[in-house]
């Protein structure tokens, strides 16, 4: 117990409390409908796609950067993976072609971002804003603004299915979260990312190839956007240029509310996961309670502030015992 309090649970105590409170409110107001297994799975499935993106975003923000183009990259990857040509090849071979295409497209976009930011020394905000416009525009051109349906049933069945009652999408999210945690906290890659975000000059003096590391985090996020596109394709059965709308705000919000500093140098995967869950649970509770959209928006604003204040209170008390 003590270990937990000083470990991840303790560091994210405020978030845990916020989430628990939300669940209590949910159970209280919506009863069985909220506490139902299916409902929980629904929440998790919804969290999975944006969750995968947010894990990648944690790295970028921890490295002192930002990426506004995630949603656009998801859209482009989904569109590219569902073009007639790609689907034809997939039909002749295997749906893995769709997956590979999406991952490659995502990674390539991340690479462009990374190269321009790291080697072109341009502000991440600007570069990814440009990518946001360009990737979504390109997606529209490729899809001609049509919604492209995934023909391959096996693909849908695989990713849309469940293993032992747990949806595959949720499993993917959990795996990505665990991998993200290990990479951030237990590998040189993660430490270097934090070093670059914390003090790029010091990192350079220590012999870290700052530019290369910076590039890598955007590539990683691009790859995860490609994965998110696959998940979204499975979930919606289509690829379209409107996928991933405003994901940038959602992902950044989840990461920041989780406790990762926007100025870089500190990052927490556990916090990000909580951030994602809080936002998705919030939406779910709202839906169950039949709140109208405007009231939801106001409530959401107030709840965000409350959650962060709570997190601050609890972590301040912890810091000065």
């Amino acid at each position: 117990m003590a270990g937990l309090v000083h470990g991840p649970a303790g560091r994210n105590l405020g978030l845990v409390i916020a989430l628990v409170l939300l669940c209590v409110v949910g159970t209280f107001t919506a009863g069985d409908r909220f506490a139902d297994v299916n409902n929980v799975l629904t929440i998790l499935r919804l969290a999975a796609v944006i969750g995968v993106v947010s894990i990648g975003m944690t790295f970028v923000i921890a490295s002192g950067g930002i990426d506004l183009s995630v949603g656009a990259i998801v859209a482009l990857a989904s569109v590219w993976a569902t073009t007639l040509a790609t689907q034809a090849i997939a039909e002749d071979t295997h749906w893995i072609v769709l997956v590979t295409t999406a991952l490659i497209v995502g990674t390539a976009c991340g690479l462009v971002n990374g190269v321009l930011i790291a080697y072109g020394r341009m502000a991440p905000f600007i570069v990814t804003l440009a990518m946001l416009a360009a990737a979504r525009g390109l997606a529209e051109i490729i899809a001609q603004r049509r919604t492209q349906i995934v023909q391959d049933r096996d693909f849908i069945d695989f990713f849309g299915g469940s293993v032992l009652g747990v949806p595959v999408l949720v499993i993917i999210f959990v795996l990505v979260a665990i991998a993200g945690w290990v990479v951030l906290n237990r590998t040189t890659f993660g430490r270097r990312t934090l070093a670059v975000g914390g003090n790029a000059e010091a990192a350079r003096l220590a012999g870290i190839k700052v530019q290369r590391q910076t590039m890598y985090v955007y590539v990683l996020l691009g790859l995860l956007c490609g994965l998110a596109a696959v998940m979204l394709m499975a979930r919606t059965t289509v690829g379209t240029s409107t996928h991933g709308l405003l994901y940038e705000l959602d992902a950044i919000a989840a990461v920041v509310i989780g406790g990762t500093l926007l100025k870089g140098g500190r990052g927490t995967i556990v916090g990000t996961v909580f951030g994602v869950l809080i936002f998705t649970t919030l939406t779910n509770v709202f839906t169950l309670n039949n709140l109208d959209t405007s009231t939801q928006a106001v409530a959401k604003g107030v709840i965000i502030i409350a959650a962060v204040l709570l997190q601050q209170r609890t972590s301040t008390r912890r810091r000065s015992p």
């Binding site: 040189t188 870290i208 140098g265």
Partner: protein, 493 residues
């Protein structure tokens, strides 16, 4: 290194410098602030690339494109401006870029064990490898920096003013390690403005002046200190403290009563009168900076009072202190002192903006003139107040921080390590200015790790140890031994 030339936009930092270092020696690099010492060693460490000249390593000419290239050759450096990542732990910082890892996975236990060994070697077992570096004091960070240099198993270690934040005991410890290393054939390049240290540890010296070598490879034993000073400055300088004018002191201005912060210090009481300089002497980590910051309200006290002119200040409020006329010249120039990207002028006038403004609109001409006046008095080089502060050398940056507080008309001035990294020429100027302020009726509190400086500058001295006042009296009653003696005995005398 031969005929190294390094130009920055608008400045020739190095205009043809030669330096040769032999295995197993301690080669001291001397020069006034802005002479080019840090720039030279940054070229050697691959941080900057020279515009002209060659670097030869073990007989081979090498190009050092980035820090990693130098590290690969076996050159490790401790930089003047601390180069640590505050959010990472001690162990992570020490092995940054050189991680203990297998297949990319950190071996944290091994790193921690190795860190403990390194810190023990530096006499600092008490620093935990898992502590976040940002929570360490400047001295603690310097130690970590040193441990990192050691961890690289380098053939050449460069130390840029490592002693600036260390007290004499810490410096002794450092020298033991240095001797250890040289015995194993490791070469050291050592930069310091404390000439007595050079005498103690150095084998040979190279002197820089205005980006040129004026002397290289002089054997320390054969060169008298006065000669070194002459080479550095081109004139004779007496390392002197200004006379205490002995004028009648004014009323009590600052009164500190039973000030306390849990786990840091307790029971601190003293008074400072107008025109008086009070010095706080003590070892690194004694809590002197904390005391000053608490008086200033930057830290919130857990008990006791601070009053100025009889009025008690609100706890933990910088605003209250500032409004009462208190000023603090902070210890950490980079994080607490300077807006690094801003110009010299703006950094100097930052704390006295109101004086240059009429209904909020600034008179930039007056601002600039005031800044120029200050920089001239303190001999900030290069001259010109419109350059960004981060293009100045470390010592000159320190002068700018000080200039800010000299410009501001305070009732009470708290100076934390005011001469950190400042060359001896400028030091005398600073001492004179502090004395001048006191004579004008300001109450001054000075903290310095150089006991000699505290004793020379102050009217009264408080000896601080382990967060408590161990002794106090007029400066005449103390000498360096007595101070150290009080600290060693540890109990209030």
């Amino acid at each position: 290194m031969t005929a190294i030339v390094k130009r920055f936009p608008g400045v020739v930092a190095l205009g043809g410098v030669d330096l040769d270092v032999r295995p197993g020696e301690v080669h001291c690099l001397l020069g006034q602030n802005g002479a080019g010492k840090s720039t030279l060693i940054k070229v050697l460490a691959g941080v900057h690339q020279q515009n002209e000249g060659t670097i030869t390593w073990e007989g081979r000419e090498v190009t050092l494109g980035d820090p990693q290239a130098a590290i690969d050759l076996g050159i490790a450096a401790m930089y003047q401006e601390l180069d640590l990542v505050e959010g990472l732990t001690v162990a992570e910082n020490i092995f940054l870029g050189n991680e203990k890892a297998r297949y990319g996975f950190s071996q944290r236990a091994a790193a921690a064990a190795e860190t403990e060994k390194l810190l023990a070697r530096l006499g600092h077992q008490e620093i935990s490898p898992h502590r976040e570096v940002g929570s360490l004091s400047a001295a603690g960070q310097q130690i970590v920096s040193m441990a990192r240099a050691l961890s690289r198993d380098a053939r050449l270690i460069i130390m840029d003013e490592p002693s600036a934040v260390l007290d004499s005991g810490e410096v002794e410890q450092l020298f033991r390690v240095v001797r250890d290393l040289t015995d194993q054939g490791v070469a050291i390049v050592y930069i310091s403005h404390r000439l007595e240290e050079i005498r103690e540890i150095g084998d040979r010296v190279t002197v820089l002046k205005d980006g040129r070598t004026v002397a290289t490879g002089l054997a320390v034993e054969d060169t008298p200190t006065s000669e070194i000073i002459r080479l550095m400055t081109g004139r004779e300088i007496e390392y002197v403290f200004p006379d205490r004018t002995g004028e009648a002191l004014g009323d009590v201005v600052l009164r500190v009563e039973d000030l306390r912060r849990d786990d840091e210090f307790r029971g601190v009481s003293f008074e400072v009168r107008a025109g008086e300089v009070v010095g706080l002497a003590g070892l690194v980590g004694a809590g002197r900076s904390e005391i000053l910051e608490t008086i200033y309200g930057a830290r919130r006290s857990d008990g006791g009072t601070v009053s100025v002119d009889g009025k008690t200040l609100r706890r933990g409020s910088v605003n209250a202190a500032v409004d009462a006329g208190v000023g603090l010249c902070p210890e950490e120039r980079k994080s607490q002192g300077l807006v690094l990207e801003d110009t010299v002028t703006r950094n100097i006038t930052m704390a006295s903006l109101g004086r240059f403004a009429r209904s909020g609109v600034l008179d930039q001409g007056a601002e600039r003139r005031a800044a120029l006046e200050q920089t001239e008095a303190l001999d900030v080089r290069p001259t010109g107040v419109d350059r960004a502060i981060n293009t100045l050398s470390g010592g000159n940056q320190q002068k700018v921080v000080l200039a800010r507080w000299l410009l501001r008309q305070c009732r009470v001035l708290l100076l934390d390590e005011p001469t950190r990294g400042v060359d001896i020429g400028a030091r005398s100027e600073i001492y004179a200015l502090v004395r001048q302020l006191a004579d004008d009726g300001v109450a001054v509190v000075v903290v310095s790790s150089e006991i000699e400086e505290v004793l020379g500058l102050s009217d009264r001295v408080l000896v601080i140890g382990e967060g408590a006042v161990l002794g106090q009296g007029t400066a005449d009653e103390f000498d360096e031994h007595r101070v150290l003696d009080i600290i060693m005995r540890g109990d209030a005398a």
